[in-house]
Symmetry: C3
Subunit: 158 residues, 3 copies
Amino acid sequence: MSKKLNLLVFSGDYDKALAALILANGASELDMEVTIFCAFWGLLMVREENKFQAKHKSFFEKMFSMFTPNSAEKLALSRMNMCGVGKGMLKKMMKDKEKPMLKDFLDGARRKGVKFYGCKLSVEVMGFKKEDFIPELEIIEVYQYLKDASESDIQLFI
Amino acid sequence: MSKKLNLLVFSGDYDKALAALILANGASELDMEVTIFCAFWGLLMVREENKFQAKHKSFFEKMFSMFTPNSAEKLALSRMNMCGVGKGMLKKMMKDKEKPMLKDFLDGARRKGVKFYGCKLSVEVMGFKKEDFIPELEIIEVYQYLKDASESDIQLFI
Amino acid sequence: MSKKLNLLVFSGDYDKALAALILANGASELDMEVTIFCAFWGLLMVREENKFQAKHKSFFEKMFSMFTPNSAEKLALSRMNMCGVGKGMLKKMMKDKEKPMLKDFLDGARRKGVKFYGCKLSVEVMGFKKEDFIPELEIIEVYQYLKDASESDIQLFI
C-alpha cells in the first residue's frame, strides 16, 4: 500500500510554498499519495492567475482580492529582507542553477495528480469564490482535512 | 479507539493561534483526543486576561509580562501588514461572515476538554508563573510532550 | 523498538532553531532516534563558524555567504521585535535562569548522535559547499527525507 503525505499550507510565503511543492513533487515521484490543504494565506498559492471575480463580492472582499498576490509566482519571501536576500536574488540563484521556479513546481504537482483542497472557513472569511482558484481545488471542511491527515504517514503544517 | 491530535503551538501570532484552535475544536467534534503544548510565544495564547503577577518577578520578567500580549485576543497577525491586511480587517471580515473569533475558539476548546500544556523550560525562561495562565494549563517537561506526540495520529508544529 | 523523531528545519530563526534543538536533545535522552533535515534557511543553523569558502563560488554565492549568519548563535529571532523582546533580552533571560544557549543545544545534539542532513537542492541553490557545514552533515535528496519521515513516529516542519 502506498504511503501518504498530507500538507497543511497555512503560509502565503514564496519560500514556504516552494518547500511545500518540492515535497509534494518528490513524494509523487515516490508514488506516495499527496494532499495539500490550503488554509488562510496558503490559499494565495492556488489562485488562478489574472482572474479577478468582483461579482458577488463586498467592498472589503474586493479590496482583499485586489491587494493580495493573485498567483503563486507573486508571493513574497517569508522575510522581506531575510539576511539581505530578496526574492529576486533567490530566483536568480535558482535560475543560474537551472532549477525550476515555484510555478513549475505547482504545474508539476498538478500534472502528477496531487490533490488540492481549500479550507471552507478560510475561503468564506476571505470572500473568495470557487472560481478564484485553480479548477481542481476542492473546497472542504476542516473535518475532512483531519480525517485525511489522521490516515497519512506524514503530516506537516507549513 | 479514538484518534489523537497533538499540536505544538510555538507561534504567538493571532492567525496561527486561530488555525490551531480551529483544528482543536474540529478534532474534538470528531471525538479525537486533543492536546495543545504551548511553548515560547505560544504561551501568550493561554495567558489569563487582566491578570498580572508582579510578585516574585525580576525586573526583566516584569517588563516581559507587561509588554507582551496578555490574552489570546491581543496577539498580532503573523505579518504586521500581510499584503495590506491588518488584524482589524481580518476580524471585520470574520464578523461579517458571523464566524467566531479567537476568544470563542479558545473558550470552545476549553469547554470541549482539549488538554492544554505549557512548556516548563519556556515558562521558566520567560519568568511566568502558573497563575499567569488559564487554570487548566498544566506545566510539563518536553519529555512528556514527546511521549504524547509519539502516540498521536497527527502532530503539527504551529 | 525505539521511536523516531524527524524534524524538517526550514526556518533560520534563532528561537525556532532553539525549539528544534531542545526537541532533538529531549528525544535523544528518551532514546529516540532523531534526524534533522535542514532545508533553505535551516541550513544557516549548521554552518561551520568562521569558515568562509570563497573558492568555486559565484559573485552572488559569495554575497550570500557573507551576508547570512555564519553560525547558529548569530541567527535572529523569528520576529525582529517580537513584542519588544529582542534576542539579547531572550539570551539574558536564559542566562539568568542558567539555561543552556543555542550553541550548547547544538553541541549536545551533535554529541548525542542526532543525525544532521542538508537538503541537496537548497545547498545547490544557495551555493554552499559541503565544507561550509559542520562535518557530520550529510547532503541528501528530498526523497531520502521523505522515506525517513514516513518511517518516523513524529514529523514536524519547523
